[in-house]
Each structure stands twice: as C-alpha cells, then as structure tokens.
Point group: C2
Chain length 239, copies 2
C-alpha cells in the first residue's frame, strides 16, 4: 500500500516552502511534519537520530528511505511520484536547462538570499542584537549582484524561465527571492524583467503560493512582535 511521503519542513526556510507548494500543487499524498529551526528541533531528538543525518531541512522519508537536499528531493518526487510534466519537462531539453539553473542557484541565488536573510534578520533575532551594518551592507551588495546575474542569465522575453509553462526552476527562484523581500529588500528596483517574471510566477501558483507565503510572513511578524515585546520588557526592567 502506498504510504504518504513524510515531509519535514519549516516555512522560514525557502526550500521548504518551494517543496511544500510542489507537494500541494501536484497533489502528491504527503504528511506535513513542521520542525521549528528557531527552536533547534532539527538538531535534536527523533529528527536528528531517525530522520536526517544532515540535521537540515527540508527532508523527506519515503517508505523508510530518508532523503535530504531540496533539489534531490524534487528529482526524487519527479521520478517516483506522479508529478505533472511541466515542473520538469523532457521536451526541448527543458530538463537540462532547469538542471543548469538548479546547479547555479546552489552557489549564487541560494547563498546570496540566505546570507542577506541571516545577517539582516536571523542572526540579530537569535542573538537579540541589532543587525551589523557592515555585514548587512556586504550581503546586500552580493544580493544586488546576484539578482542582476539572475535577470541577465536566466530571464528572457518568455513568460517563465524556460518558456510558456512554469517549472520547478521558477518555483525555486521565487521562494529564494521572497527571503530578502520579506524583510524589506526590494528586488524589483531597476529590474523590470524580474518584476514581470515574479508577478507571472506568483499569479500562476495562485493559492498554493499565497497560503504558504502568507503563513511565512505571519510567522516572521509574530517572531518580530515577540522580540519587540521581550525587548520592551527588558528595557522596563532596566529602568
């Protein structure tokens, strides 16, 4: 009998959001198991010992087979489950073009969006300090540069990255860009092509995207409010 895939995720993590949307939009039966990275749940207990030796999210267990790494999970699902062809099309060498982006993003888009999010939000949140100006400024420069490259190398006159249909490259990229965008960075300034592409991807994904994205932003706001509250209480105690 077919068991649903166990999917371990945290919406604060961009790859978790991309895969969650893929599961939902493709109607792959799955059991959603939220793991809080801020609470360090990916480092301890059941998850570390029995789910994922990398101690990383996202992760899946498929009939006992444990797998890590966003793009590896995507390819696993596209081979083992019924995933609509447009996410990873065989036609016109679409897969090769998507693979090229998915490899590039590991060392560019993924790094730049994560760095900015960490310096501007995550590190200050965890250490209860203000963001370091220098670190944020460096991360911002890297991000500007990477988004320029993304627009030049991967976007064109067509609606989506590899043509008229949305693929996993688009889904992966929009979730990456939402990471800095959700904390105040404007990715669209002087990037009209990127702005048009972003809107097309968002509209095409519809509610699958909106629900996950709203939950992500709500989560961020909640954390910010908690921290502001704690800081206000700390200041009140100091006075």
């Amino acid at each position: 009998m077919t068991q649903p895939v166990k999917f371990y995720f945290d919406f604060l993590n961009q790859s978790s959001r991309a895969l969650y949307i893929l599961f939902e939009a493709s109607k792959i039966p799955f059991e959603a198991i939220p793991i809080s990275m801020l609470k360090g749940e990916h480092l301890t207990g059941e998850f570390r010992d029995n789910v994922n030796r990398f101690r990383k999210l996202p992760a899946i267990t498929d009939h006992g087979f444990q797998l890590s790494e966003n793009v590896a999970i995507f390819r696993h699902l596209s081979r083992e489950k019924l995933v609509p062809e447009h996410w990873y099309p065989r036609r016109h060498l679409g897969r090769s073009r998507i693979d090229e982006y998915l490899a590039w993003q590991e060392r560019h888009m993924g790094v730049a969006c994560t760095d900015y999010f960490q310096q501007k939000w995550l590190v200050p949140y965890l250490q209860k300090t203000r963001p370091g100006d220098n670190a944020v400024s460096l991360a911002r420069k890297q991000l500007d540069h990477t988004l320029n490259d993304f627009e030049t190398l991967f976007l064109n006159s067509r609606k989506f990255m590899i043509g008229d249909n949305i693929s996993y490259a688009d889904l992966n990229a929009i979730c990456e860009i939402d990471q800095p965008k959700s904390i105040g960075y404007n990715p669209f300034q002087n990037r009209n092509k990127l702005a048009r592409w972003y809107e097309a991807v968002r509209d095409e994904l519809g509610l699958y995207y909106k629900n996950v994205h709203d939950e992500f932003e709500r989560n961020l706001k909640l954390r910010n409010a908690e921290q502001s509250g704690a800081q206000a209480r700390a200041r009140a105690l100091e006075q």
Copy 2:
C-alpha cells in the same frame, strides 16, 4: 547525423577532469576543446560570445545546445547519450542518493576544495606572491571539517559511495579531493575510510583517471617551474 558533443575544459578545473573521464570511460563521441583559464580564454572571444554565457568551465555544445554547470552536463549526457547505467543507477533509488551528494557537494566539498586551491596556489600564482598564511589556514580548517563530514555522511562499509559499483558521485568527489591533494594537502590523515575509498575509486577508473590526473599534475608542475624561473630571473635583475 550525430555530431560529437563539443566539450570545453581545462584540466586545472576539477569538474572538467570528472566530465572528461566520464566522456572517455563511457565512449561518448566528443570533441575536446581545451580552454586555458590561466590565460583567461574563458572570458573572451568565441567562448564568451558563442559558447557559454556564464563564462565558466566546463561547458558543452550539443547540436547547437549550449550547457554549463558540471552536474547539469552530467545529467544531460546521462539522458541524451548512451551512458552506462552504473554512473547514475535507477536501481534501489540510487539516483536519489547520488542527487543528494551532488547537491551537498555544491555548497560543501566544491567550496572547500576550491577555496584551499585558490588560497594556496591560484591566487599566489596569478598575483606572483606568497600564499597568505591566514587565508590558507582558514581554508585548511574548512577543508578538514568538510572532509570529516564527507567521510561520516557519505562513506560506509561498501566499496563505493552507493554500493558495489562506481557512480558519478565517486568520480566527482575524487576529482574534488585531488585539487588540494595535488598541492600538498594530505586528505588521508586520520581518515582510513576515505583512504580506502579513494584507492578503490582510483583503481576502478584505471587509465581513464591516470591519464587525466597525470596531465593535471604535469600542468601544475610546469606552471610552478615557470614561476620559479621568472622569480629567479627577477631576483637576479634586482641584485
């Protein structure tokens, strides 16, 4: 009519060596086009304009289709050409396990081996200076840590990474490790499992590996000798 794949490479680059060995060992018809990165040939002329918009090696052109990124090229060849199954086996979810390694290496093995090679050899070579002690020491720590992770996460009691047969994960990894190894770093110290695995991979690849590897080391020695000669002449002129 089937045209050979045009393959642009430089043996100083680890991914170029891995793919070259794959082409040869799999008997895929290809036209080998060496591009010298030290001379900046990947940044100019025909290559930049008509071969690879990323200005990166390795790259291929397959019937006019241009593709970049090591792992994307590997998957393209495994889909479009006759590549022996053991490099990317469907059995027992081998592909998913290989994909997991190939994603992990982009942000770990690839980064650590490249950083060490750059700090210890490439930057000093290009700038005609001695390596920076601090930068080399940092890169060395990162490399130590990454190779420990590699041994713990990916090697086991079996001969190769995913079982009794060699796969592209092994080929990719040995070429990465050769990067620091070729300039004096010992990857085997306190890593018996890694040493056994390395030997098994090297022996399995036989002459395909040996020829490419010898050419890489000869190339390195030649560059070093040229530079020593230039430095000796410079010192003689200063006296």
